[in-house]
Assembly symmetry: C2
Homo-oligomer: 168 residues x 2
């Protein structure tokens, strides 16, 4: 099963593709999609949409896991994050993938064991879980990989709940 | 020139296609794209994206004019509106159209002559400007047509500013 993790953003949108066969997860791709702040917003969104669609076409993930948007102090940043997340959701659903959102706390709990884990601990945990020689970089890509790993941690209980007919 | 006006929303997204040859504008299509609130957000966004893309393919507008998103009291509604607007921007830019945003006040000023015009006056003005026998319905569709008419009102000064090298 391939999972595409997304840490949404308009200037920087982290992505990470993780595969699991039930044992250790493997990272197949990670990086950051960037759009230039000097460009008009519609062109930035169109560019981001194209890049996300290309990733989905390349890896055919069965799940797209997205960090959930919260309203932030900076309203303009929040709108950009919401729009980037919206594009990822639309592209994922249009491609037939399951689309799941996780809160930042859920991601931290699943990957580091507690919801207030600091960023450097998260990066070390991602490195350890994937068996990487070096810490994953840049930070947005590590965040996106963490969202994908969070889904893998939740997947068994989600599957059990689905089988039992319980809505999540 | 065809202008696609969009009044963005996730549950109800108004659209209106207006053409002008420099004299009276003509409405070619107007309506509301709906997505069921009971469906998962990613599927709703994918459905809305598909419908907006279909409208753009059908009419090939040279301009997509969108009512600008503001933060509202209800944060969840604001996120849906921002995401719907983001999809419309991305689809418009990807199709090569010029994408322009107008504030609600700009739309009211351009169509009714003052920024605090009430909704019923806006609907009557849209009816009058387009020479329609009946008031346009539903309200979201009339709003979207008003955004397109707002662009037509601004287009001459935008073109003049562009020719003079002034950024808008």
């Amino acid at each position: 099963m391939f999972v595409l993790g997304i840490d949404p953003g308009l200037s920087r949108c982290g992505y990470g593709v993780v595969e699991t066969d039930g044992r250790r997860p493997i990272a197949h791709a990670l990086g950051v999609l960037r759009t230039p702040p000097s460009a008009p917003t519609p062109k930035r969104l169109a560019g981001l949409q194209y890049e996300i669609r290309s990733l989905i076409q390349e890896f055919s993930p069965s799940v797209v896991a997205i960090e959930r948007v919260f309203f932030q102090v900076n309203a303009n940043t929040a709108i950009g994050v919401a729009q980037a997340a919206g594009l990822a959701m639309a592209e994922g659903a249009a491609a037939g993938a399951e689309v799941v959102e996780y809160t930042p706390n859920q991601v931290k709990e699943a990957v580091a064991g507690w919801g207030a884990a600091p960023k450097d601990q998260m990066i070390r945990m991602v490195q350890s879980l994937l068996g990487l020689e070096k810490p994953p970089k840049p930070a947005d890509a590590a965040d996106a990989i963490a969202v994908a790993l969070c889904h893998l941690a939740h997947a068994p209980s989600r599957a059990a709940a689905k089988a039992a007919g319980v809505a999540l």
